[in-house]
Symmetry: C2
Subunit: 136 residues, 2 copies
DNA sequence: GTGTTTGCAAAGTGTTTGCAATTTA
DNA sequence: TAAATTGCAAACACTTTGCAAACAC
């Protein structure tokens, strides 16, 4: 992930006004490092960093960023929604404690994928490698 | 999926008393055909079939069946939990309308899967092929 | 009988929404 | 100033829980 373009301009070209809240949340997220997080985690982080954003705004902003292609959702379990700043094609390790770690897509190869049923096309392939602690 | 053994005995060997509710829900589920469903769908179906089970019991029973290895959960999106009577190793197509279709695991081959990080082992690999309708 | 299971309704969790107040351009 | 955005609190959808009554063995 990289942000050669200033956040302000990235938001503008996504049709999003660079409001204080969006700049604050975006500033926390688009640091150049890939991150996985939930809405709640980001909300806590923002408040700790001194940004007073409401939960509703965090959710709205995350969805707007996702729609704009700045974020991706990662489905891991039925409870909280996880977001990922890495929007490129890749997959995940899921540790028992909920930690997500990227697996580069190029690293793996999937053979024998049946073709999409008539009338549909493959939009995305998500591979989730669930890990368990080794007992001992 | 097969149930050579009577449901009553399958429940017993899973440590579950063969109560009226468990037998009713099990009877709907373990017909020999693989099914994908949510708790709500099963609840509706049970009531239509004339079995008066409560929502709480449907949830409890589904979790007990899952723990007993009679069912599997399929994570598809953040909202409802989906269950699958096919507990063998396999993957899924997900249609836009929420329909799940099995992909036999043997049909595909995943190459280059990185080894599990130190201290952990791969518990399961879930592959979800998200489909979109062809526009037109 | 004794411990398990059920079912109701209430509580819980994560997320979304309605709308007045605020902010942006 | 007009249109977009925010924030609160209430509403929501799905799921879990507490506990008394019902049931299985």
């Amino acid at each position: 992930m990289q942000q050669s373009t200033p956040l302000k301009d990235r938001l503008k070209s996504a049709g999003l006004r660079p409001t204080r809240q969006r700049l604050a949340l975006g500033g926390l997220l688009f640091t150049g490092l890939d991150r996985h997080f939930t809405a709640e985690q980001l909300h806590v982080e923002a408040r700790r960093a001194g940004f007073a954003v409401s939960v509703a705004t965090v959710y709205n902003t995350l969805h707007q960023f996702t729609r704009a292609g700045l974020l991706r959702e990662v489905v891991v379990d039925g409870s909280k929604t996880h977001f990922d700043t890495n929007t490129s094609n890749h997959h995940h390790f899921l540790f028992e404690d909920g930690l997500l770690v990227d697996i580069a897509a190029g690293q793996m190869q999937l053979l024998g994928l049946p073709e999409a049923p008539r009338g549909s096309l493959v939009k995305r392939v998500d591979i989730l490698v669930r890990l368990a602690k080794i007992e001992g």
